[in-house]
Each structure stands twice: as C-alpha cells, then as structure tokens.
C-alpha cells in the first residue's frame, strides 16, 4: 500500500464526537498518522506480522492504519469508553479483523504488566498540558515496559532534552525520526486562535 493510499483510507476514520479536555483528546490527523505508520513499516519493518500496541488509541486511527499494513494484531488501549466505542465502530466499518480493544488506565499499570509482550508500541500520547502534567512521561514509561523492540511516539519538541535525559536514565536509545508541525484546529471552546501549530518530534525508542 502506498503512503497516499493509506492516508486516503485513514481520512475515513471517524474521530471524537465530544472530545474531553481533561483527557487531552485530539485526533491524530490522517496525514500525520499515515506518515508515522508508513515510516515505521517501510524503514523499520516494525508493523507487518508484529504484535503492536496502541496506547491512548482514542478512536483508533493509528491502530486501523497498522492493521491495514498487516500487523499480526494491533491492540488499542484507552481509558475512555466513548472513544473506544467510536474505535469499535470504525473497525466494524473498515472490516478490520486484526485489532482488539482494551479499556484500562495506563497510569495504573503495575510492575511488569504486559512486560515485553508487544513487538512494537505506537502512540500519540497526551502532551501533558493543563491539568495533565507529566502524562506524556507516564505513557512513555508504560510503553517502554510493554515493548520488546521499539516504541514510536509523538512528543512536543520543547520537551526533547528532558525526554532524552530520561531515556538515558532508563537505558533506552532515543532517535528523532522527524520533526512535525502538529496542526491543532480549535476544538475546544477556550481556544482563541483558529488553529495552533505545535512543533512535535516523532521519536523512536529502541529497547536494548
């Protein structure tokens, strides 16, 4: 499947009907999702025939994309029932048979839960803004426990140094695959501008 085809398909994925501010719910754009997945698949071969986890899967755009790229199975994890219901509907419409969904709180993951069970973890975690401070690092910690080979994630460029240091402390190698401009349209009432461009790093963590 070509990048353009993938992006085109992902444009059909339904997103949040009423995004919850407290959970920092923003959809991952079909363009960014397609670029991420395509790179993971073609450059690193970490999707096809692999057991993939999508943390904070929301409405499932990354999972459905991974499924289209022939992941062996992609399991989406999210705390929000409403988002998972939309994901479930999406999977039904796309007739995606190689995904599964789990409702859980990644912050409550204990010790070695899912320890190295997944080949690859992909995610677009909350950036940890407003009331959600530190959430990005909690997601990263969980992801690194669950993955056997690699974790792919999006984080604000402004946090790059901090994450690099943490990665070093945790004994994992971090690579900046790309710098993206994440266009967040005004989806919440308090947003004054029509859209905001956030500098975002597409990172790869390899488990050594």
């Amino acid at each position: 499947m070509k990048l353009k085809e993938l992006e085109s398909c992902l444009q059909q994925v339904d997103t949040f009907e009423e995004p919850k501010i407290l959970l920092e719910q923003y959809p991952t754009s079909p363009h960014i999702a397609a670029c991420m997945l395509y790179t993971i698949h073609t450059t690193f071969e970490d999707i096809e025939g692999k057991l993939v986890a999508d943390l904070g899967c929301g409405c499932g755009v990354l999972s459905i994309g991974a499924a289209m790229l022939d992941a062996g199975l992609c399991v989406g994890f999210d705390v929000d029932h409403d988002a998972l219901e939309i994901f479930r509907r999406n999977a039904e419409e796309f007739e995606t048979s190689n995904v599964d969904l789990v409702q859980c709180d990644l912050c409550c993951l204990q010790g070695d839960a899912y320890g190295k069970k997944f080949d690859t973890v992909i995610m677009n975690p909350p950036f940890g803004t407003k009331h959600n401070q530190g959430m990005d690092m909690k997601f990263l910690r969980a992801a690194l426990t669950m993955a056997k080979t690699a974790v792919y994630s999006l984080h604000k460029t402004s946090t790059r140094e901090h994450i690099q240091k943490k990665a070093h402390d945790w004994g994992v190698k971090m690579e900046v695959i790309a710098e993206l401009r994440y266009d967040l349209p005004a989806s919440y009432k308090f947003h004054k501008k029509k859209s905001v461009d956030i500098q975002v790093d597409f990172l790869r963590f390899s488990i050594t």
């Binding site: 048979s97 190689n98 599964d100 859980c104 069970k117």
Partner: protein, 123 residues
C-alpha cells in the same frame, strides 16, 4: 476480546498477588475469519502462557482439539499453527466478564471490549 489479548490480561486489584489467569464467563462469543500468518502465530507461541490459553478456549467451548501441551517442532507444523491461529485470533468474546481468580472481582466485557478499570478503593 481475542484470546491472544486475554492471555496478557491480569487483575491488579489491591492486595491481589496473582490475578492471573482471568476466568472467562462469556454470554456471547463470535468466530471471525482472520488472515492466517503462520510466522506470526509461531512467534506468538513462546509469549503465551499455554495452559491459560487452553483453559480459556475450554471455558468458551472452543477448545476443539487444541492439545494441553505444546507439540514439539510446532514452527513447521501448519496444522497445529492453524489450530492455534483460530483460538488466538478468530474466537472473540463479545459479552460477558473476566473474573479475578483471587479476589473474585469481575471485569465486564461489553461489545468485545474488556473494562479493566479499577475503582478508587481497589487501586
């Protein structure tokens, strides 16, 4: 919920030392067709708690002739891999619940999605 996923789920209720494997009480089960990838199935087998998988398949009435122990040289045994494929990926629990073997706490499964969220007093 597929059985490959179930094989990884644990109960983390406060005070529980071994919340695994979760017992499955299913009221609705479906079998889908999923593309067979023998390499994928073969690679998943070492990650599994085999007895938990057999027990789960049994509880759903979908064990068929899945053996209680792993057969040797399963990597090349396509027949065996097909059986494992069916149980891991094609059998799905749509409605029911998962029960913690130690605390008895039930985690509901609704429309194929298990809800593993704990209440405040269980964390």
């Amino acid at each position: 919920m597929k059985l490959l996923t179930h094989n990884m789920l644990t109960s983390h209720v406060k005070g529980v030392t071994k919340g695994y494997p979760l017992l499955i009480k299913a009221t609705e089960v479906k079998v889908n067709e999923v593309d067979f990838n023998p390499q994928f199935v073969s690679r998943m087998i070492p990650k599994l708690e085999w007895s938990a998988l057999v027990q789960a398949a049994d509880q759903l009435g979908h064990r068929q002739d899945l053996p209680g122990d792993l057969v040797p040289d399963y990597e090349k045994n396509e027949d065996f891999l097909k059986k494992v494929h069916r149980v891991l990926l094609e059998v799905e629990v749509l409605e029911g619940c998962l029960q913690c073997p130690e605390s008895g706490r039930e985690f509901p499964i609704s429309r194929g999605i298990p809800n593993m969220l704990l209440n405040e007093d269980e964390v």
